[in-house]
Amino acid sequence: MQPVVKHLYVHIPFCARRCAYCDFNTYANLEDRIEPYIAALCAELTLLAQEQSQPSHDSPLAIVRNDYLPPTARVSRATLQPSIFFGGGTPSMLTLGQLERILHAASALVPLDTAEITLEANPGVLLGADMAALDYLRGLRELGINRLSLGVQSLHDPTLRVLGRTHTAAEAYRCFAAARRAGFTSINLDFMFGLPGQTVVQWEAALAEVLTWGADHFALYALILEERTPLAAQVMRGQVSVPDDDATAAMYEAAMYYLAAAGYAQYEISNWARIVEQQPISANGHGLCQPDDLDSSLPALACQHNLAYWLNSDYLAAGAGAHGHVYPQRYANLAAVDAYIAAVQAGRRPVAEWVPLTENDLYAETMFMGLRLNAGVSLAHFRDRCGVDLDVIYGDLLCELAQTGLIERRAWGVRLTERGRMLGNQVFARFV
């Protein structure tokens, strides 16, 4: 039985200004389209809800609340909380009223009371809002938004300017503090490393500083120079230089070291969550945890929505350019805002492309997404997602990879080694 689709991504393709490194589907100076866009978004959500079969969400399917998730639970699709993720773009450009309308429409798809609801926020935009940041953040909490993801990116103001960010490090901190005061108990900070002009020493200093903030979650990304972004062009022309691969590797290693020392558990290649209430490992109803699984377990503050991606779960997506995945199909919405609005106004799903997925796609994606998790891919998860045993499909390949020392096989499944985490693509590419 397919579990009901319980994850929803909502794309807000508006920004006050484009960042130099960004190649996402987002537009600056289209503020006059926000109202019609929200209307279209709500209409799309309603269309989605009509298409979904409508089983009640209080079905026997055990939905475990974030708070009750034991810290060492073996990761599985069934135990994930339902989730809504507002990504962008800059979702924090929306007014509380607009967000409320979207959430209302989304409630037909995802039970708001039990869901993890994340909103990506840009510190610069929050502070620039007409409303005081604190009031806005309180408003978000009241709407049921319970997780905030702040795009801090760097604590070095000149670098923030090169990136095209509109905030300063001090403003980012004020934003974080305000979010805490507003009652957010799950706050993620996005940072980048391998930034123009950055050194390993600077990065370590930034880590040391930001670790004093006490955030709940970190997402640390090595800068990717995406083609056709202003930053890539500047680097190409030699106007800006970025650290080489060795320096970037050293920064990544530093991050792993500092975050672990400060009590954060890495659970994915770029994601860490604060470890809460260190319970003794015991039989906890999941039954799969062995003592050697400590480091392949899942911290309670892990992002449920992103876990859905890494577990190759089904998820819906709404908004311009958003991508949904309901096996055996993936769909991509129309990327241009006006085209998107027009399609929905005409009463159609605003889908630009349906991509059929084969069983092989399902196997491959389950592997290369799943192996990103420190918990790896368990035999149980692979069977649950793919309906077939892992060894039947990938037995030989896994043996070969194990010999390179990039992955390790355990009784319960397979995961990247420390070295494999640094060289993940060498493993992932073997599955595509």
């Binding site: 990304y221 970037t248 991606y309 995945h325 994606e365 693509n425 073997r430």
Partner: protein
Amino acid sequence: MHEQNRIRNFSIIAHIDHGKTTLSDRLLQLTGTVSDRERREQHLDAMDLEREKGITIKAKAVRMHYTASDGLNYECNLIDCPGHVDFTYEVSRALAACEGALLVVDAAQGIEAQTLANVYLALEHDLTIIPVVNKIDLPGAHPEQVAQEIEDVLGLPRDEVILASAKEGVGVPDILEAIVQRIPPPHGQRSQPPRALIFDSHYDAYKGVIAYVRVVDGVFPSGARVKFLGTGAQAETLELGAFRPTMMTLPELGAGEVGYIATGLKVVDECQVGDTVTVADNPATTPLPGYRPAKPMVFAGLYPVESNAYTELREALEKLKMNDAALSFQPESSAALGFGFRCGFLGLLHMEIVRERLEREYDLDLLITAPSVEYQVLCTDGEIMVVDNPSEMPEVSKIASIEEPVVQISIITPSRYIGVIMELVTSKRGIFDTMDYLDPQRVLLKYRMPLAEIVVDFYDQLKSRTQGYASLDYALAGYQEAELVKLDILVNGQPVDALSLIVHRDFAQSQGRELVEKLRSLIPRQMFEVPIQAAIGGRIIARETVRAMRKDVLSKCYGGDVTRKRKLLEKQREGKKRMKMVGNVEIPQEAFMAILSLGEKKT
């Protein structure tokens, strides 16, 4: 059909970019051979590759009809000829088919080494030369000075020089008149047994090998059985005719005429450039002079990246060979690269053209090893071995001496570059021969140099060190003994035969060092550290290390970008496919050609 005295056969000698193609187009246009409507830019260069490289690889022949100022109609045959040192023999055959040649010199650039070499070839064949100074419309043109240079250097009187701009059409009618008035008509004997010179050929899928011929004596009737005096092959004439500019059949080809004979032969080998063709039942016995079977000078191994493409590669080479008598190939195997072919080429350009055609037209992924020349090795047991593959060089203890091919090179350069050229030539083991001033600013330098040094990167270096001003020509000048050693390259401790080189003892150390440095920059980081070493007879003379890859992972991968990230991973995987696994190291294609780009950093 025209009487011989109304036939003019001519060729165009020009340096690359001096305007040969534009002038050819103008002539075709002015004589109505192609209408304006069908006029395609650059009519004679049919192959894409030629157009891209701006050079003419295969000679072509076009028949034009021109009514001259004397009111008579003339048949003018333009025989196009290649303009690159690799193809000197082809040029000489094309010239041998003519009575005259247009010498086209750029009004801004003046005479170049290539031009000079080809003019001498034309003079050897007693051709009447009509000097044309082209591109007089260019801002940098100094036509008078160039006309004077033509008189001083080539002894062609100033008043015979025609000033022209083929692009603007200026002077083109004068050129046509001069072709008719100055170039003598052919004077073959129609009554003699037929003889025709093959100056080019190509393979046609329907008509077999098409021989491009200049009939010297007699008459070739359509349908006659023909015989090739050099190769001894015989064939039916499926069709004969002339190019106007597309193939037009004729009932016969008589003495003095230029045209084609479709032979139905399956490979151009049997119908080689320079050979004499005659009619089987009325055969001529004396071949026309100058025939020489095509002889490759540069050799390299060609290997499929994917070893299962070996058969495809062989079939592709066989097809290319149908059209290219100068290409030779035979199977060879390499411990590092598996099964492939040792191929012989006229020169580096020829090699590059063959490689590109294999990749483009046959969609093959190829590895090509560093080019080598043919060494003659005298062994201690008295045996003489011919070695064109460094990995086949016998052990040092078994070698008594090694001889290598040498060439005479001619360089024409502005005199301010004499110093840098001297330095370059000396570093390539060249020995100074003569120096002649063509005019106060320009010098003709001659050296003797090992061919092996030229096939590597000499031409590119000459061009870059002289800002493109110097031009080069070379001709084989025999063999000479040299202190040569085999330089082996070890990757991750394993010798890679396909990377071995023959180098001069005195340069072995520095070339070994440079080569391993270059290889380090070309071989991508692997999951482990890879030492790269250069060795002579087991002694390591240089070492570099490709450090292990430390980080290679997509840091960001969420729902929305699964498709994109997947494509990135697929691309990464495809990239690996382009590399050759040697032992457990992935070596990219360029690494095998690393030797070609040594010394670049010096310039």
